[in-house]
């Protein structure tokens, strides 16, 4: 937390675009909750 406070004051953009080291970057939680995409359909993917 101390490191992050220093980063926030020195390079706020680093925090605005975090996370940088995770397999998945910043997710749009609100969109995911409002536009549910729960089931796969073969028509949508064109496979199988």
């Amino acid at each position: 937390m101390s490191e992050i406070l220093v980063e926030a004051r020195g390079d706020p953009q680093l925090l605005k675009t975090a996370p940088h080291a995770t397999p998945v970057r910043r997710l749009d939680d609100t969109k995911a909750a409002r536009l549910l995409d729960l089931a796969w359909t073969p028509r949508a993917s064109g496979k199988l």
């Binding site: 937390m1 101390s2 926030a8 706020p12 975090a18 996370p19 496979k47």
Partner: protein, 417 residues
């Protein structure tokens, strides 16, 4: 990528292929499918690699520190899980006769007794399947109590504005109007606002203590007197029980009912979307209304009490007796701790929270209630940092992921900036 999108026509995986079901040939032909099921066609390695890759995308307690929660946090020993998963527990049918599950019932009876001891309450029911259902149960019993007395004008439940959202939701589900009570500058429930709100329409007060602001209510006994003198009952939300475990009992504070989140205070990981368990404890006034079944000890054996034993019960909350696996983990955890260990939980959680609060203040973070000693948690406000740099609490939370930590709960309680 979904497993279906990895599918290639004709690929098979022997390891995942189910064996032919014995007796399938006896199914009448009209019930047999004519087209093959829509399943992905993948090799064994495709499947292994797909799910392994997915698991690595997760931020989990097996790989990182995960202090998520607006309430009590605790350690979940693997031993509790291992013992709850013993074959005899797993193999027991939930509808098996009491006689064939005496060991299982003995564990649950002991758990009821332990929770009675910890809360000071007269009786405990293990039936609620989650924390929010425990809240619902508490309010339902308050309503049953007033209804049984013919006191039908009590239509309001008082809820502090620092409460979890499930508190007002539970009250509404029980048919009550919710009256919100403000928080004062010290982080306590505003006593003057409470006194102005109580009256002949007050059915009860729902209180989380220590509150979601991380402080113990300094006027708890005066609050209790205020509500009881108005004819209302007091319900204690045990979300933050870690801070007082073994040190202070809600019954001694005059509360009539409490629910305990076993998944927050007594093993079982919290925050994974379940399963949970929210046993309720009550004083003798509310005991007749407890949900069923209850575990009783009779003539040297254990049996489940039902409607004929407790005709005034609010009823059943599920098909069986609670979430057995969660209850067993809690039982093992409580037995591992013992009375002395429970006090240690309270002391260490409070000590740790205050240590961290002081360290963060020294680092330059703004503490929401710096004048108060933290209980098990505390609030950091980033209002000033946002004004100075544009960096928000969400940005800090996301940056913590880069450092290997999941952020604690952010933007809660809602009354803090």
């Amino acid at each position: 990528m979904l497993i279906f999108e990895r599918s290639r026509s004709g690929r098979k995986s022997a390891a995942q292929a189910p064996a032919a079901t014995p007796g399938a040939g006896e199914i009448p032909g009209r019930y047999l499918r004519t087209k093959p099921p829509l399943l992905p066609e993948c090799s064994e390695l495709d499947v292994v690699r797909h799910y392994t890759r997915l698991s690595q995308n997760n931020f989990s307690i097996d790989t990182h520190f995960y202090p998520l929660g607006s309430c009590t946090m605790k350690y979940n020993p693997r031993a509790c899980n291992a013992l709850a998963m013993l074959p005899a527990f797993l193999g027991r049918h939930p509808a098996a006769p009491d006689d064939t599950g005496q060991g299982f019932l003995a564990c649950l009876y002991d758990l009821q007794e332990i929770l009675k001891s910890v809360t000071g309450m007269a009786e405990v029911s293990l039936a609620p399947l989650a924390g929010a259902q425990g809240e619902f149960t508490g309010v339902a019993m308050i309503r049953a109590y007033h209804d049984a007395r013919g006191d039908a004008d009590r239509r309001e439940i008082l809820v502090p504005d620092a409460a979890h959202g499930t508190n007002p939701a539970s009250a509404v589900m029980c048919g009550y109007m919710v009256r919100e009570i403000a928080t004062d500058a010290q982080g306590n429930v505003d006593l003057a606002a409470l006194k102005a709100a109580v009256g002949p329409r007050t059915a009860g007060l729902m209180l989380t203590n220590p509150s979601t602001l991380g402080v113990f209510e300094q006027h708890i006994l005066e609050m209790e007197r205020t509500v009881h003198e108005a004819g209302g009952l007091l319900y204690y939300d045990g979300a933050n029980l870690n801070a007082i475990l073994g040190e202070a009992k809600p019954a001694d504070m005059g509360f009539d009912a409490i629910h305990i989140n076993l998944h927050k205070t007594f093993s079982t990981p919290h925050g994974g979307g379940g399963p949970g368990a929210g046993p309720v404890g009550v004083n003798s006034r509310l005991a007749p209304f407890l949900p069923l079944p209850l575990v009783a000890q009779r003539k040297g054996g254990y049996r489940l009490l039902g409607e004929t034993d407790r005709p005034l019960s609010i009823g059943r909350l599920g098909a069986q007796l609670g979430n057995a696996g969660v209850l067993l983990r809690a039982y093992v955890y409580a037995r591992m701790l013992g009375a002395e260990g429970m006090r240690r939980v309270a002391e260490f959680s409070t000590l740790n929270a205050n240590y961290l609060m002081v360290e963060l203040a020294k680092a330059g973070f703004e503490i929401a209630f710096p004048q108060r000693r933290a209980s098990h948690e505390f609030i950091v406000t980033l209002r000033r940092l946002k004004e100075e740099t544009g960096v928000t609490a969400l940005d800090v939370a996301k940056r913590l992921l880069d450092k290997g930590f999941h952020a604690p709960t952010v933007y809660f309680p809602l009354l803090r900036p």
